[in-house]
Symmetry: C2
Subunit: 227 residues, 2 copies
């Protein structure tokens, strides 16, 4: 740790050993997204706290944060429950995500630097490689990352914020939503169109592709919701 003290005083990033409630937050969120805590489950503070080896205090703080993110619901005197989303709610979320990404697409074509676009191209190529090797998990992660990056290109913090929030709520659902081979192929095709439109800074075309891509995203997941 001595090296940190040696750095010049105005260093951009500090050491910041993350606090416990922050670590718990990440872990809890992952548990919800990956399905360890299924929707409708009550979060037992004692049990989770024991499992994590922490007291209930920072755990409760993390839960409050998750509540504001919309991943859990706070029920008075009954603690927190993992939020269950109806098919309509998922559709509505995708609707908003689509609107946000379309908006981002327009801004991105206007302000994105070549380096930033090249960064997304790199991720895209990686993703296509993952697709060709049938690595769904890697594909999924890169896919998410590409959409996040596209929004970040717009250089609008508020836009990134709300997009990330909805993306987080949807992660669990889209994570489960494994599409069949031919649907998967089409999704990849749309992504190819996206990156091409972006590289050409063709806003109209990019908006169009994003629109189609997210409209289909709903079709891809909706079947897994009708239980």
């Amino acid at each position: 740790m001595a090296s940190a003290a040696d750095l010049p005083s105005g260093t951009p990033h500090r050491i910041e050993r993350q606090s416990l409630h922050e670590a718990i937050l990440t872990r809890l969120r992952d548990m919800i997204i990956e399905g360890d805590l299924t929707p409708g489950t009550r979060i037992n503070e004692g049990a989770i706290g024991a499992q994590f080896g922490v007291s209930r205090t920072p755990l409760r703080e993390a839960i409050k944060y998750l509540a504001s993110e919309g991943l859990v619901e706070l029920v008075p005197s009954r603690g927190a429950v993992v939020k269950k989303f109806t098919a309509k709610e998922v559709r509505d979320m995708l609707d908003v995500v689509r609107t946000l990404e379309e908006h981002a697409a327009v801004s991105a074509c206007a302000v994105a630097t070549d380096e930033a676009v090249a960064g997304i191209r790199a991720l895209h190529d990686e993703m296509v490689a993952a697709y060709e090797h049938g690595e769904r998990r890697t594909y999924y992660k890169l896919n998410q990352e590409i959409h996040t990056r596209l929004v970040e290109l717009a250089d609008n913090a508020a836009l990134s914020d709300v997009h990330a929030m909805l993306q987080t709520r949807l992660k669990r659902i889209r994570y489960v939503g494994h599409e069949g081979e031919e649907k998967w192929a089409k999704a990849v095709g749309e992504h190819v169109e996206m990156i091409e439109a972006l590289e050409a800074r063709d806003a109209d075309r990019l908006v169009d592709v994003v629109h189609r891509h997210l409209t289909k995203a709903w079709e891809r997941v909706k079947d897994s919701l009708e239980t």
Copy 2:
């Protein structure tokens, strides 16, 4: 309170006496919005806790919730600081709000019930009355409420969520942004157009008005930000 127990078992709203951290949350948020806690201020848990007459535990929980809402920033080992927004951030937020309200406008014209529209008309008339009496505070509150209701007409929970979040972040800024007489008059004029387009279910016109209204909203507040 006995009447509650007598209600049939599946009653829509329970008694729900709100918990302390929830009450604190509302109070803290109001303090930030109304300027009692100015941007950049560190939130001293001991002091605020004493002022509210509560311990630090529920207070800290409320702070975590506010952090996720984006009203405060969590600095490791140094607590929470009231978030300071740059002019660009405000502009970006208004940009997203505009996009969201335009989207809401389209949906609203398609699915809104006559009663819901009538409800907004009532608020609108009240707001105009407040304007004519020069009651800026009442006007401001009704104005906010109308925009919230318009978004709610779209019947999209995610849309309402993210809109409310940005609206909350902007409240303090727009609260301060007192416009001059003629700008105020124009804002009211835009609102008249909005309610008329809505009552006519004229989506194109409504989108257009909303677009102009929120573009001007930026012009109305931007001067107060260049300090």
